[in-house]
Amino acid sequence: MTSTVDPISLPKRAASNDTEIDREALATLLVEIARNVDPDYRARFEGVPTADPRMETLRQLLVGREISELSRVTHLLDEPEQLAAAVGGVLPSAAARAPHAQLGEALAPAVERAVQRSIQKSPRTLTDILYPVFLPAIRKSIGEKIDQTFQSLNETLRHIFTWHGLKWRFEAWRTGASFSEVVLKHSLVYRVEHVFLINRNSGLLIAHVAADNATSEDPQLISSMLSAIQDFVKDSFNEKEQSGLDTIRFGELRLWSEVGPFATLVAVIRGNPPEELHEIIRDVLLRIHDECSQALEQFDGDSSQLASVETQLQTCVELKQEDSNQGFPWLVVAAVLLVLIPAGGWFFLSWQSGQRWQAYVSRLETQPGIIVAEQKVRDGQFYIAGLRDPLAADPQALLSGTEIDPARVHSQWQFYQSLDPKFVLQRLTASLTPPKSVRLSIVENRIVAEGEAPDTWIDRARAAARQLSAGGPVFDISRVRDVSPEARAAEHWQTYVSRLEAQPGIIVAQQTARGGHFYISGLRDPQAADPQALLSGTGVDPARVHSQWQFYQSLDPKFVLKRLVASLTPPKSVRFMIIEDRIVVVGEAPAAWINRARVASQQLSADGLSLEISELRELTPQELTHLREAIQAIDIFFDSGKAIPGPEQLPVLDKLANQLKELAKEARKAGVTAQFMLTGHSDATGRETANVSISAARAETVRALLKKRGVDPELLLVRGAGTFEPAETENSRTGSSANRRVSVTVNFH
């Protein structure tokens, strides 16, 4: 290395090309470097500048391409956009190749922040992403919660009224737990017998733990078969769900499986497990996944890596709830009963008396006319206050039969008038005293009077109706018929009837009032008062009276006397007296009259009556007597049913008129007054009334005819004797013409 070539000039020569190094220049440079590096050389070549341009030349020669490459890379790194593009190109494959754990750790904070940011920005996005993940989990969880609730409810209901239930209630009270918790604790007796952890992919058994005394077939086969069955169900029913079969039940035995990302945990449970067990199993599975996630994922049939799992599974197998067979706490129960029985008895009795009281109060409340305003029970005493209508049922009386001690009841009742129709009706009945023909009733809250009543009662009822309180029931009296006219008429009729009955010579046999008409029948003496005439002044309408009187001769001395006076026409000098049923005639009379009186006396004695004429003295002058006898021998005859004498009687009438006028003249001369009684007679055919009428009519006719012929009418008296004074006795029904006559008797006064 002793070349003298000036190294400084060397770099000036350009390299033959970029890729090939100029070997000669390089050699020169290397010598030059050696010289610079060696301190001896340095000493010898003083004045070499620190920034030797030759070094730069050397660098260019040696690493010129690398420098340009480096500057390109540096440039790339300095330009963020270019760098991003470059990194973006390799990032996916870089991430894929990175060791999982390290990458996960490196990314975790960034991812966490990113997620946090995303949630802050819009929770919706993340929710949408996680929705398909959460939904089945939430659904399952809710389902289990509901099952749990139902199970709790079921068991609680099942045991609520049993002896166990009572016992457990006591336990709940003692331990402060809820009753349903205690029920579940006792009723859900179960034991986890086996736990299988099964690889989800291959169905191979990862671990199996069995409880003491629990036996099973080869767990490896079982676990595979279980996953085969899972697949079977999934395939058979086209189930897309990732969860798999979570419960298989076979009698007492249940298989509960929880599916994790890499492994499924299957618990074989005998008995009746609580739903919470699902959660416990799930927790165990979660812990296993947390601890051995990687080993699980890479499981290929060799479970030696997963030995620790067994301890976790062991916690599951230890789960059980055994039926406690503790001795029954008789003493406690006896003590409790000792307290409970009297207390229960007291409660029952007070409850019962309360019930009775309530029954009584509600009975009172349903009573019309009773208003319960206030009632209470205090210290075994009953207090009640309210209003009651005097007509309502007696509250005290209602107590009987209720088994409530009346001494414990304190009532305070104010009286009031109930507007209840029933009570209004009662009050009206009491105040109006309706006649029997009136009926009061309640029709649709109205009080209706029906029937017949006199106007006085109707007036009172109307007044009462007006006085009824407003708002109360209406008193309707429109259906009561006023019967006062009839009543008054009936009253008048009775007055009339009694007046008739008081009349001598009138015997009332029968009388009725029917339909506003009055019917009366009986006997009357022709001499008796005329019943028709008696009607006047009684107020009875004569048109409504229908009488039927049979004539008869009264044997009353007064009537006998009347008849005698009428038939005998005694002169004024004669007086009649009635002395003890005997008729005594005293005074003086013409002889003819005395003879007639004697005949009458004889006739009367046949009827058991006596007419005494022994006291009479004869009076009449002879001439008058002759004339009188001539006159009295004359009869005017009539045809049957006629009141006017036939023409053949006219000469008889003329003759009679002349004789009457002569006698009147002669009598006047003798100082006496001659009076002529024209007595009409009839035959016995026809009705008696008609006969009496026609006889009187005949007498009247004769009187009129005599008056026409100049006889002083003052002297002519008229009477109808009917059939009572016949000229001859009639045997046949044809009647007698001799009896249809008017006879004349002459009296002197």
Binding site: N199, N201, S202, G203, L204, L205, E217, D218, Q220, L221, I222, S224, M225, A228, I229, D231, F232, K234, D235, D300, G301, D302, S303
Partner: protein
């Protein structure tokens, strides 16, 4: 160590007979008709380890369409069974293997030509078998009746999957 092995083959090729005599089983054959699968276990003991082959005997059907390929998930190896007296069953076994591998990737397998005892009715030519052997396939002519090569086949498969 356990391995999931699926036994595939057409209808009545003798899969069930093969396992009946040589494996440990707790499930009756009705599982095949009900669930469509029956699980048996064959333990193969090697000097350094024991491999438990968990054999999934899938119900063989002529209709390949009804083959439940999901049962193969997680399997480490296949036992393809062919009825040596019915040539068509070879195609069935191969098709089933193709479907399983299409779904879950390639996996070790042994191919058993069963019913080797029925020599007079044998329908597969030696040449055909040789050709398959040329492909590096492990092929056994087995007889469920005599048990010939059955153990060998399982042992072979166990060593293949346990590597």
């Amino acid at each position: 160590m356990q391995k999931k092995i699926c036994m595939l083959g057409g209808f009545a090729v003798g899969k069930t007979s093969l396992v009946r005599r040589f494996v440990q089983s707790i499930f009756s054959e009705t599982y095949l008709t009900t669930v469509g699968v029956k699980i048996d276990k064959k333990s193969v003991v090697f000097p350094d380890k024991t491999v438990d082959l968990i054999l999934w005997d899938l119900a063989g059907e002529d209709d390949i369409g009804s083959f439940r390929v999901s049962y193969v998930r997680g399997a480490s190896g296949l036992v393809l069974v062919v009825d040596g007296t019915r040539a068509a069953t070879l195609a069935v076994a191969l098709t089933l293997r193709e479907r399983a591998e299409a779904e879950f990737g390639a996996m070790p397998f042994v191919l058993l030509f069963n019913k080797s005892d029925l020599a007079d009715r044998w329908a597969i030519s030696d040449r055909e078998i040789d050709e398959l052997r040329q492909l590096g396939w492990q092929i056994y002519l087995t007889s469920a009746l005599s048990g010939e090569y059955v153990d060998d086949a399982f042992r072979q498969l166990a060593s293949m999957v346990a590597k």
